[in-house]
Symmetry: C2
Subunit: 277 residues, 2 copies
Amino acid sequence: MRIGVFDSGFGGLTVLRALLEHVPEADYVYLGDTARLPYGAKSRETVARYAVSSARFLVAEDAEFLVIACNTASALALDAIRESVAVPVLGVVETGASAADASSRTRDVLVIATAATVESHAYAAACEQRGMRAIEKACPLLVPLVEEGWIDHRVTAEVLRIYMDELMEEARRKALNPDTLVLGCTHYPLLRRHIEEAVPETVRVIDSAEVTARAVAKRLGLSGREVSAKTRFFATDSVSKFRSLGSRFLGQEIAEVKLVDLEKQPVAGSRELGAGR
Amino acid sequence: MRIGVFDSGFGGLTVLRALLEHVPEADYVYLGDTARLPYGAKSRETVARYAVSSARFLVAEDAEFLVIACNTASALALDAIRESVAVPVLGVVETGASAADASSRTRDVLVIATAATVESHAYAAACEQRGMRAIEKACPLLVPLVEEGWIDHRVTAEVLRIYMDELMEEARRKALNPDTLVLGCTHYPLLRRHIEEAVPETVRVIDSAEVTARAVAKRLGLSGREVSAKTRFFATDSVSKFRSLGSRFLGQEIAEVKLVDLEKQPVAGSRELGAGR
């Protein structure tokens, strides 16, 4: 089984990291669309166009199952992706909402994400389908803070305190009693400890990377016993930056990354690369 | 005279704003490559590809003179742009360095900019050509803070204090005596007052938008008397976002923005749009 994992950049490597742990017998092909990141502030049409070309690339690389590890692409473009490829597609928004469903007793949940994910209200819709009420909040400074490397930094703690206070204040205003917070962006797990410190103890934090990997394992019915995972990495921008920054998200060294151009003749380009592997 | 102004997004509107003041008799066509922003963390090859297609679009829209208002594109792709179009091209890096040249007595200058601009060392090279020493510092959190609207915010003041302290510390370590600080990113003029508060009083802050507009006026020898400026706006992503966020940078209402796709058949696409105006 070859699983394609797609993200606009490096954040999806936290999902791949969890997949390698929970589904170690699969092969992986990861694509970070780093030339066009971030998706988080772009329109639905643009995100869909980028995500569809990325999904097609992964299928051309023989992926038999796609994990859309990018929250923004899952929120804005999952239907467009499913229409454009013939393999099963799983997005982190649905797995995050399902995990909240399993966790929440009060049926009130909080979601933090990028501006585009929040504006799509994809998490609110997925929570409502499962009989929960959700408050979504955009936290646009968290990704740049993580990428600046300010993980354990007083400025990050202060920004998180401001964002989480605003979120809890909105919950009070709407008379909600949330007991679950979904991290709706793959960068946020790196801030998990500080996020947990900034919310009341009664709120459980859900990392969509972890729950997505569990959902894939369950869906594919793989045993987790045979370990022979081969992983290949592709990026649309600087492969050296992908290697150095990506290793922080993956939690292990990334040896080789291949450059791919999705703007010029996407399929032909991917076949060329595919032939060379 | 029709002047084309290019930026990866909205920041270049601070340059257009200064141009409208200093060269009011020209017509303008502005392109924000918002679908592919930000350029600031991307590689030279990717930035050059994007900037060249954008410059060609503006020339197809009958621009007779190009102002590259994007510091990253000026730093990484000015030669590539000049090779690809037949009209004169002025970039904000050279105008910023020239303004520093006119301002600095100690011949030691500071530059703050995006990661890509700093890594290119374009400002350092331009300063060295003019007999000055420069220290360049990447400040990747400032653009997201401006876009979050946290202009007068204690977190922004704290981030600026950290960045400026690091910059002055590096100057001390290298035994430089800087008297000039160039704002090497078009978002930074919105933080000008707070930047001035975070550096010693002896350091003069130079806004490249203002000095670029003066350079264009001098270069074109226009009188500034007849006022008949018509301005058209193009963006590669959401035109509604361009209108709302862009007005903050331009300092006036933006009535109409046209959407353009530079990835599919860029020249044909621009002609189609051109025919429709």
